[in-house]
């Protein structure tokens, strides 16, 4: 099912939770709403589900308006953040309930419930109560309950946030596989950028109720539209500057910053003289000297903090002007660690440096 949101506004009292958001979610894709707490992502999900009504704007399912329709007339399947399994019903009863409401014949109900529980690897646990299952298992019951009705769209509200880290990875993979198998249009809400990047076909980044950027994980990572997206997606080093000159039809630019002139790729919206932000990903930066002939930027500084994270050695480098650059040395096996206070140079390739509008 294809879902369109057109200029949606939703306020709670004086707070505008969703501000003029338009989205086009394609049939069969896993679409993620990503943003910090309070950015409006859950509100959008609930607007799609019919648990809230928008103050203005239109929502279309396969081109047909659904505004004003209650959840049960929208053909949705929802998985709630706390699972919302009914504690007074067994797991099978939880899954079967929607079918009972729809007056599906009894033997068909049994068959479909077993099939749904099988799909989420919970055969044989139907007679237990939700309270007797682990968090990951409850999550799957909730998933089965939503899927058994063959909904047009599956809505997932931070489904992994109550699980511990190990199980989270496992359930994440299962959700992705199930979604691909079924080819069901899915809207997924999360505040975890890594989760969003690994799961999604496309991602919408939100902040303060406003849409920041929509794109594939690759597009968001390689071409963040603004500093908020860049920061949220994990590019921690942002240096303010101004476009000095452009090259290659505006695809590359020299940017004047407090730390000297930096070279890099340039967002096509930027013109000479524009204020901009230079993004440097921690894992593409290194500590050392500019190699002869290499096309690299270099900024001198002093190590202010170092931490060992197993597969990564992470340094925070004070480059003056109250600015810290982060450098992640991956596979630090052959790396001889620096001490705090050491004077070092941060070097990063001009190919991975990107100037975006501030």
């Amino acid at each position: 099912m294809n879902i369109e949101l057109k200029d949606i506004v939703k306020s709670f009292g004086s707070l505008e939770a969703v501000s003029h958001v338009s989205l086009d979610i394609k049939d069969g894709e896993l679409f993620t709403l990503l943003g910090p707490p309070g950015c409006g992502k859950t509100t959008i999900l609930r607007l799609i589900g019919g648990f809230h009504e928008a103050n203005s704007g239109r929502i279309l399912f396969d081109g047909k308006p659904v505004m004003g329709k209650p959840p049960y007339e929208r053909n949705i399947g929802m998985v709630f953040q706390n699972y919302a399994l009914w504690p007074h019903m067994t797991n099978a009863e939880n899954v079967a309930y929607g079918l009972k409401i729809k007056k599906v014949p009894r033997n068909e109900i049994v068959e479909r419930v077993n099939h749904a529980l099988g799909k989420v690897n919970l055969e044989g646990l139907g007679d237990r109560y939700p309270g007797q299952l682990s968090g990951g298992q409850q999550q799957r019951v909730a998933l089965a309950r939503a899927l058994v009705l063959n909904p047009g769209v599956l809505l997932l509200d931070e489904p992994l946030s109550n699980l511990d880290a190990k199980i989270r990875l496992q359930v994440r993979a299962e959700i992705r596989k199930l979604q691909k198998d079924l080819g069901i249009t899915t809207v997924y809400v999360t505040h975890d950028q890594e989760e969003a990047l690994t799961l999604s076909d496309r991602i919408a980044v939100l902040n303060h109720g406003e849409l920041q950027q929509v794109g594939t994980p690759w597009e968001l990572y390689e071409r963040p539209a603004n500093p908020f997206v860049a920061d949220f997606i994990g590019i921690n080093n942002l240096i303010p500057g101004e476009i000095r000159e452009t090259e290659d039809n505006g695809k590359r630019a020299k940017v004047a910053t407090k730390f000297g002139v930096l070279l890099g790729a340039c967002d096509s919206r930027l013109k000479i003289g524009d204020k901009c932000t230079v993004c440097v990903r921690p894992e593409t930066a290194a500590i050392g000297e500019r190699k002869n002939g290499a096309s690299e930027n270099m900024i001198p500084g002093a190590i202010s903090f170092a931490s060992f994270i197993g597969n990564t050695m992470r340094y925070d480098i004070d480059i003056g002007e109250n600015t810290i650059l982060r450098v992640d040395i991956q596979n630090p096996r052959n790396h001889s660690p620096h001490d705090i206070g050491d004077k070092v140079n941060v070097v990063f390739s001009t190919a991975t440096t990107l100037a975006i509008p501030s």
Binding site: G49, G50, F51, H52, P70, P71, Y72, I76, G77, M78, F80, Q81, N82, A84, L85, W86, P87, H88, Y97, G98, I101, K102, R145, A146, L149
Partner: protein, 573 residues
Amino acid sequence: MSFENGEATLSGGATRLWSRRNFGGLAGYAGIWLFLAIFLIYPLIRLFYDAFTDDANAFTLMNFSDFFTDTYYLKATINSLLLGVATVITTSLIGIPFAFLLLRYEFPGRGLFSYLSIIPMIMPPLVGVMGFVFIMGRAGTVNVILMDYLGFAKPVNFMYGIHGVLIVETLHLFPLMTLSIVDAMGKISPSLDEAAESVGSRGLRKFWDITFPLTTPGYVAGALLVFIWTFADFATPLVVGIDDLLASQAYLNIVQFVDRRLFKMGIVISAIMILLAIVFLIVAKRYVAQKDYSSLSYSVIERRTLSTAGNIGVVVFLSSVLIAAFIPYFGIILDSFGKGWALTPFPVKYTMQYFERVSIETPKFILNSLLYSGISVAICIVFGVPIAWVMARTKLPGRDTLDSLTTLILALPGTGIGIAYLRAFRDPFPFTETALIGMWLVIPIVLGIRRLPYTVRGTFASLLIVHKSFEEAAESVGAKKTVTFKDVTLPLIWKGVLVGSLYSFILALQEASATLLLVVPGHEMMPVGIFNFYMGGSVNEAAALGLILIVLGAVCLFAINKITGAKAGGVFG
């Protein structure tokens, strides 16, 4: 209903406190147990001892076989059970929609209805039934209008009979049901409801399949209280001329001094009532313990708005219930100010003389009420706060029993405990000629015991919210135990203690079962005065005293509302 869902944060710290201050702490704990042993456990044991022995103190089952072979008593038992069940049904029919509408829907006057819905509870049933009789009775306003203006030949019997008792108890007790359901529903995550909607369940179907089953623990707790309060009330039935109920028979048999056998039957009836109450309590507790669905999430649900027709329907429903529930207030007000009110719809003259009579001329009712209720609340605080603390913060042996005992008190019929006291404390103290029965002190003590659960629950609920880590945090920055209690715990729990105590106070003022039995001449409280005035024909004085009692209750309730913002379900649930 139970304390299980707030399983105390078991504290090494508190246990250490006990060992460090071994002597003082243990002496205090022993004091609590001594108090409960003397004034709760001993009277009950004494009552059962009497019920199972003959005049020669030999064990016998004769008393019970007399009871169960007497068709009149059997009929009274069945009547009492039926009345209790019927009241549970009627209060459910009103209380559940009331709670559901107040919680889930937005409609004109919602806040006002929410506030007013609790008011009927401050009307003691004894006063309520009088107020109903003034308006709906044989010569009440409604019947006078029906006969004089609408040509009815005979008065309509609204009140006299078991249906009158049912009406009075229903309109008095439905708020208890509403409070229990509101409390239970508030603890259920709204997403459970939304999940039902997302799979196509809605309206009544959703209510029966999802919402109501999840509130059953709260519902069962409320239903049990409604059942037992109705079951134990003898004053209301007597006012409308019903005496073939267990509670009424117990009272009548005990207050007569002629027939020893009847007196014995009074004791047997109380024992049976207490046993029944305990059985119901255990069944309810079992049920509730199995099904605790509260998520403690307290998330806010978006209230639905209704269509115009829906709005009108809701407002009409709520208004009619409340108007019916307020009928006795009109009756009491009219009769306490009205002079020469007979055969007219409303009084012809108004006067203050009845208030003068019950306040200035005979101030003892009001003064005694305030004094004894005050002392009983002091008892509640002195014993109730430590009991709550022990339950919430320690692993001391006996804390589960304390929990059970305080719950038991809630379920004990007042008539039963009154009669138990009569048997237990009638013998003089050693070397004297005075017995506790006959001293005024027995009244605040029995009130203190009867109202103890409200203070315990109010305090316990507050202590649960004060997580142990708050106290540990204070200790970690160097505050001693006593300083921690004063600076951290007390500021966070005093509201709960105060609210619990105010409920204890209101209900002590209104107590009209145990106090009617234990009445000490010259030391009567207001409900005793009301009952005696009414039964003796001084109806206006009874009404005036009743109105004063209502006003006192209203003042306390207003204070509770100010303190808590109208959330009080936990005290009863």
